[in-house]
């Protein structure tokens, strides 16, 4: 490559013909673009823009870069020259390079853009950004200042300049930037963050805490703020609060939104870029973002094993098991038609098996696991899951040899495997062998009380009462939480609810962090009609595990039963923001909005929208009825009546007289041109019970 960087063309000529017609030379030579009607201005000297090695890059990336470079070439060679357009094209090319992590090429582009259009704040800003990124904050500072001169009040430049000055220890200057940013936008979280850091550096943790708390309110996803806040609480001696914030901290930074850097990701053409985005989203626990990123990766590379796995995982996390299964099945089809590794196929099948098991479809799960193992026998995890599925299906004879092999493969998990094998043996009527396995498992984990209790149960089941009692004694006294819990569950299952409730309460007194037990108590309270108590317990479970779908459902059900309909509506909305695909919650929401007795809580249009979406995944009788009732609440009673009439007819033709009578009762109201409303909570809830018709 020629080394002609730094050459300057005479700027006085207005023809602009010198060399610029030769595209290849356009990068190397200074540009006399201003020739067209701007004599007297100095010539712009352009830097050579390196050609990053893209030989191993995805073809889409090579093409993207080539097209953008060509655009730049053409603009630089055009006559009359259009400096602004050339600068914009260079900046765009620079952003592409920045995106793919070629900072040197990006810097050359931004430098040239800024030289071609020195009065454009955007190019100064981009150059400042890349310069700072390259470890030259002093230069970055000067460039940000220049951008601000060109565009006073340019908020992203103000905030980034403040950060640079903070890094450089220029605290007074930084304070001025952040205060100016805050004056322009009182909700600028980055400004509060900067002022917090300045206060912390000045030894004023109390003031720092105020800023960090406000920043966190404004940017709740920026969990890096929790670290700053935690450190500040530490310095204030508020140790417990410090620990809490630090434990919740992460590395999501406070965003500075601008039209140049923030949307950089939208330029990406490589599947790899989206794979990385997907991975980061998964790490952040942001599954919606992960779905979008992996979806984009699959659009670019339909056979991407990483994208298939990632998308399925994210969908599963969002509760969309059907979507996850469909994704993996598509991946399997791709793998079968392509040149995927056997290991990849095996892994897809294994994950599919896991999802089927999660959906309670153990037969399908077992089939998947077996297929996975046929492709790659060296998968102890798949074998364990296959054995467990077979056990759940009652196919203990088939499970047994798998457990035998697992004992050899996973000696470190021998106690668990022995426990499962023993259970299988019990079910096969091979009691003595089962007890031998239990005994070995207990020897391996003598302090594992639940395991010992399982052993005791087995002994009791096989008529060895004395030994069973001895094992129970060894498992611990009556005050032990596990023993209490076990007893409480037994009492609940036996219908001795008050004793069970006392038992769960005793467990929670000892172990208040046992949210699984709190959930069980909440269910029991609901069962006993003590809905307020149930709501309180469900809420604590949700606080600890916001994605606990059953607790969400339990809470809203209890609220409806307490006739706290408005609150139920709010909580349902919150739950559905997390579980947008949970059909049961969605049905409850639609039914509530369409039929709740309290007029202010009803919202026919929203009910209709939810019900319509719901019908796409569940067209059961009750969902269709909810749709009809939502139509009525929206004022479309004639359509509602027509739909309800069809439902009545269907029920009658199936001979389901009870259902037909219930549907007909509502039809009478609809036929009279009125919407139908429930008389109380039970009428709302009954209709949303799982519909197997």
């Amino acid at each position: 490559m020629a080394a002609a960087t730094g050459r300057t063309l005479p700027g006085g000529g207005c023809t602009g013909a010198y060399a610029l017609k030769r595209r290849a030379a356009a990068w190397l030579l200074a540009v006399a673009w201003l020739a067209a009607g701007c004599p007297g201005r100095p010539a712009a000297e352009l830097e050579e823009v390196p050609h990053p090695d893209l030989s191993a890059a995805e073809s889409a990336v090579r093409e993207q870069v080539a097209v953008q470079r060509e655009t730049v070439d053409e603009l630089l060679a055009a006559e009359p020259a259009d400096a602004a357009a050339a600068a914009a094209a260079l900046a765009e090319l620079g952003r592409v390079y920045l995106l793919y992590d070629f900072p040197q090429a990006a810097e050359a582009c931004f430098t040239n853009a800024a030289r071609l259009a020195p009065d454009e704040a955007d190019w100064q800003y981009l150059l400042a950004y890349i310069t700072t990124l390259q470890g030259r904050p002093e230069e970055g500072r000067a460039l940000y200042r220049r951008a601000l001169e060109l565009r006073p009040g340019f908020q992203p430049a103000l905030l980034r300049l403040g950060r640079v000055e903070l890094e450089l220890g220029q605290y007074d200057a930084a304070r001025g930037r952040f205060e100016a940013a805050l004056a322009a936008d009182p909700e600028a979280a980055a400004a509060h963050e900067g002022l917090g850091k300045l206060a912390a550096a000045a030894g004023d943790p109390a003031a720092a805490a105020v800023h960090f708390e406000r920043a966190l309110e404004l940017a709740p996803r920026a969990d890096s703020l929790r670290y700053a806040l935690g450190q500040t609480y530490r310095d204030l001696g508020r140790t417990e609060e410090a620990r809490r914030e630090l434990a919740a901290s992460g590395d999501v930074a406070v965003p500075i939104v601008d039209p140049l850097i923030s949307p950089l990701g939208t330029l990406a053409e490589s599947a790899q870029f989206y794979l990385v985005q997907g991975g980061e989203a998964l790490e952040d626990g942001d599954y919606e973002r992960a779905v979008a990123a992996y979806g984009a990766a699959l659009e670019r590379d339909a056979a991407s094993f990483v994208a298939i796995k990632g998308l399925a995982y994210a969908l599963e996390k969002l509760g969309d098991l059907d979507g996850a299964v469909a994704t993996l099945e598509r991946g399997l089809a791709e793998a079968d038609s392509g040149e995927a590794e056997r290991g990849e196929r095996a892994e897809i099948l294994r994950v599919l098996g896991g999802l089927e098991a999660l959906r309670g479809r153990d037969a399908a799960a077992a089939e998947r696991f077996a297929a996975s193992l046929a492709l790659d026998a060296d998968q102890p995890d798949a074998r364990m899951k296959l054995a467990n599925s077979l056990s759940r299906l009652g196919r203990f004879g088939e499970a047994l040899p798998l457990y035998d092999r697992l004992l050899e493969e996973k000696p470190e998990h021998a106690a668990d495997i022995l426990l499962r094998r023993a259970t299988a043996l019990v079910n096969l009527g091979r009691g003595d062998e089962a007890l031998a396995d239990f005994r070995r498992a207990v020897e391996l984990r003598p302090d594992d009380r639940p395991l010992r209790l399982r052993y005791a149960d087995a002994l009791a089941h096989l008529g060895r009462a004395a030994e069973a009692a001895r094992q129970r004694r060894l498992a611990g006294g009556g005050g032990d939480a596990e023993v209490l819990l076990r007893t409480a569950r037994q009492q609940r299952d036996a219908g001795r609810y008050q004793q069970a409730l006392d038992g769960f309460t005793a467990v929670l007194d000892q172990a208040p962090e046992r949210h699984d037990v709190r959930f069980e108590r909440a269910q029991l309270l609901g069962h006993l009609g003590r809905y307020a108590g149930a709501v309180a317990d469900f809420r604590r479970v949700i606080e600890a595990e916001p994605r606990h779908a059953a607790a969400r459902h339990g809470e809203t059900t209890a609220l409806i039963l307490l006739e706290r309909y408005g609150e139920a509506r709010v909580r349902l909305n919150e739950a559905l923001r997390i579980f947008s695909l949970d059909a049961r919650l969605a049905h409850l929401q639609a039914r509530l909005l369409a039929t709740v007795p309290e007029a202010p809580v009803r919202d026919g249009r929203l009910a209709l929208e939810v019900a319509r979406r719901l019908l796409e995944v569940d067209d059961g009788v009750r969902v269709r009825e909810t749709f009809a009732l939502a139509l009525a609440e929206s004022g479309r009673t004639a359509e509602a009546a027509e739909l309800q009439r069809r439902l009545v007819s269907d029920a009658e033709s199936r001979g389901d007289r009870e259902l037909a009578a219930d549907l007909r009762a509502k039809l009478e109201t609809l036929d009279s041109g009125r919407a139908w409303w429930a008389s109380g909570p039970q009428e709302i809830l009954d209709a949303t019970l799982p519909d197997d018709r």
Binding site: S55, A56, Q104, E138, E167, G250, A253, A268, Q272
Partner: protein, 572 residues
Amino acid sequence: MLVAALAAGCASPEERSPDASDAGPVTGPFVDHSAEAGLDFHHFNGMSGRYYMAEIISPGGALVDYDGDGDLDIYLLQGTMLGSAGVDEAPRPPRHPTPLTDRLYRNDLAATTGGDRSPRLVDVTRRAGLAASRYGVGVAAGDYNGDGQVDLYITNLGPNQLLRNAGDGSFDDVTAAAGVGDTGWSVPATWLDFDRDGRLDLYVGNYVDYPFDEPVLCRDLTGARDYCGPASYPSQPDRLYRNRGDRFEDVTAESGLGSAPPAPALGAVAADFDGDGWPDLYVANDGQANNLWINRRDGTFSDEALLAGCAVNGRGKAEGSMGVDAADFDGDGDLDLFMTHLVAETNTLFRNDGGGLFTDHTDVAGLGAASRTRTGFGAGWLDYDNDGLLDLVAVNGAVKKIEALARAGDPFPLHEPNQLFRNLGGERFEEVDGGEPFTLSEVSRGALLGDLDNDGDTDLVVANNNGPARLLINRIGQDRQWVGARLTVGRPARDALGARLATTAPDGTERWGRVRADGSYAAANDPRVRVGLGDGPPPASVRVHWPDGRRQVWLRPPAGRYLVAAARAPTP
């Protein structure tokens, strides 16, 4: 493709070095003395074009006085082919003669015509009976059996080795008998007497579970192949072994170290960070929060790094921590931390505000910007000019292809120059010219710190990946006054790891040094303490704080030579 480029025989790192004949007058404090001293070690990383992550992580090394003759010898770690291929299939054959093994160089200090002493290194690997032919990563040096001879614990990609110094110039592999053959991919290790029973216990930091048979394929954002990072693999748990006299007991679980989720450890320092007299442990993890294991004085530790403010950087971000070193840079009597990180991150300085609570001091110290474009590994505190203020060295080398080098057709496009930072007065640092060796661009990993010519200043050995080891002699520190000491404990004497030495100037100013061998990256360093005195008067006194809490004071100590002091061994 990398393989093709290798096969084409592109420029080697040595060929990138400036031609000596072109060099102008010698500037900077360090000169490359490798050739003169006879250091001919050349690391082989087993690179095959398959982008095995392991090929870019090694090596470290050790400075130890293995023969007890009063000068530092050099132990260097060698690699081998990775995966199933043999060395004869290497696209780029090893420079060192095969079979490839770690190497031990004995230092026979030679007097120069000017009356100084100069390292003269003799390869005694075979004579020492060393059979370390695994893929070597790091070293911890300590006298674990109290026989007065320093022993070596070698961390490998694969089973580690404990080499007992037989005292006759040879080493025996006693790994199996001692029960410390961790089979993972270990990088840092450090000896510490965490239960203060007088016997050195052993911490081993593990990196990731790397499957050669099915490595993950990693790509850069354009989709081109590149090296993976640690997030692509499950981390392996670290280990703590308690010295029971005849063998070691794995106490990872009961000590509490097993309570933290496994993280990819690359650096470790054992030192008393909270000033309670008991050794704590700082572990630098690659891409995950670091650990500060505070010794609870009952055989257990608790990780207090988050609350202490040294788990992640001041922006709340876990960084790719590599090397780490602890020293009192601001003269306030407690230990501060410096660690190296990935490109686009900064090297980080955590200032101890007393009692083991830290503040990220990187920006205030002016260390951020200078490190943002480099990937640092070896890291160390050293007072290279003996002005009484601790300076910093960071040796660098990328872990992802450097685009500009790849574009230029470089066969191993990870090399970067190393950096020296001068302490400007206890608060700020500035990058300074370290001399000609600091203009070289190599893939440096280990930085071993020690006084190899016994002239009272700190020299360096830089262990390069896929390149030559370099002996950098400090040619300016000895021009200033200094106090040095070898502090030992017990009989036979072993280095009193953790002992601290304070010099007090007539005006009351204190400077602290510490007996240590760990720190930096995968390295064992000179355990002797040196404190530079600058141009000021000799100290009024020197005070030693022994690990068991006792103190000892010397009034008007002699400067310019190493003192020797011994303490009684604690009763086990």
